[in-house]
């Protein structure tokens, strides 16, 4: 693994109790070009996620790193660990977040990176709502309402059009991920971090992606927590507006 050439792009895969879905998710990523590296952040899993990750690292075609967090910190902490890893390495152009549950389309990763490059974006979101082919996975009504509300809120406050602010399928350029390495929301981080980017002058865009059904594990957001999700994220976004603007380059 270590004798392979260093990659320019890092795919961060946060994983909490994903022993069932990880092999398939990593297998899909093997088709990526050779300048991609993979990083599994095992978020203090209580199942065999760590063991499965290390086994996958031993056989992966692309360099696959595994970081084992000693305790469960939540999705925001896990993803930020990926950004910290990238900041520590100082050799990646783009950092891509890719869920371990198999819902994201690995083939769209190069499209996300290409969109960032071509459109000079600091962050590009894979949106489920820009394209809807027949048979594509559709989230629950409650979630769709919540997503629409957050998209409306971010659009209203940031004067930008986003359709899928909760998508965890995203590609971050250096200005975004170096800032995220320093400061990133602990839980339900996607809409809040997106709004932070918009408000602080980073260029944000979306491309259409297809989302699949989970291949294993369980969703981290149940129906009861969805309400808390909306309230917490709304409060975080509104409070963020009260903060001083930052210069992501400084």
């Amino acid at each position: 693994m270590n004798s392979q050439p260093a990659g320019k792009y890092l795919v961060v895969i946060p994983a909490y109790n994903e022993e069932a879905s990880l092999p398939q998710a990593v297998a899909r990523l093997q088709a990526l070009p050779a300048d991609y590296e993979l990083l599994i952040i095992n978020d203090g899993s209580t199942d065999l996620t760590s063991e499965v990750s290390h086994e996958l690292a031993a056989t992966s075609r692309l360099p696959l790193h595994v970081v084992d967090l000693p305790m469960n910190g939540g999705i925001g902490v896990a993803v930020q660990t990926g950004y910290l890893f990238a900041a520590d390495s100082q050799r990646y152009d783009y950092v891509i977040q890719y869920d371990a549950d198999g819902q994201h389309d690995a083939e769209a990763i190069t499209a996300l990176v290409e969109a960032c490059d071509r459109r000079d974006l600091d962050i590009c979101i894979g949106s489920r709502f820009l394209m809807r082919p027949p048979g594509a996975f559709r989230s629950t009504f409650q979630r769709r309402v919540g997503i629409r509300f957050l998209a409306w809120l971010i659009g209203l406050l940031g004067r930008v059009k986003v359709t899928d602010p909760t998508s965890g399928f995203r590609c971050a350029g250096p200005r975004a991920w170096t800032a995220f390495a320093q400061q990133y929301p602990d839980d339900y981080p996607e809409p809040e971090s997106l709004y932070w980017c918009v408000r602080n002058g980073l260029r944000v865009g979306e491309i259409p992606v297809v989302m699949y059904e989970r291949t294993g594990g369980t969703s981290s957001i149940g129906p009861l927590r969805a309400t808390y999700y909306i309230l917490k994220v709304t409060l975080a976004i509104l409070v963020d507006r009260l903060r001083r603007k930052e210069d992501p380059l400084s």
Binding site: N2, H65, V67, D68, L69, T81, L84, F85
Partner: protein
């Protein structure tokens, strides 16, 4: 025993307790200052009860209500700052956890590289 005596006893007890915990390094001086202030205020309220009585007159509250109000205010502020301190501590713990996990990964990768270069078996102990 009247309220003033109870306050004085409470103030002296709080003062002794705080000093004891600082002496045994169980409480940081930073927090001890606030607790010593509480102890002194309690003692002063016991020594000069007319201060609370005047406050009760000014606010048209009864004496016990003023004592209760002041106690609740003190508890509120203290609890709030404990929450702030916990939030700060949480962020520090998270960063420590992240840095530790990344360092562990780096050590394992370096160890694997050393094993590869020296032809040592992956599980062999390093010198």
């Amino acid at each position: 025993m009247n309220a003033e005596t109870m306050m004085m006893i409470g103030g002296i007890s709080a003062f002794v307790l705080t000093v004891y915990w600082v002496r045994s390094r169980g409480l940081r001086e930073r927090y001890a200052i606030a607790w010593l202030l509480v102890a002194v205020l309690l003692l002063l309220c016991g020594l000069f009860p007319h201060v609370i009585m005047r406050l009760a007159d000014a606010t048209r509250l009864s004496y016990p209500s003023v004592v209760l109000f002041l106690s609740l205010a003190a508890i509120y502020f203290y609890s709030f700052f404990v929450s702030v301190s916990l939030s700060r501590q949480y962020r520090r713990n998270v960063r420590l956890m992240q840095e530790t996990a990344i360092l562990k990964q780096r050590v394992q990768a370096l160890r694997g590289e050393v094993d590869r270069l020296t032809g040592r078996a992956p599980d062999a102990e390093l010198d």
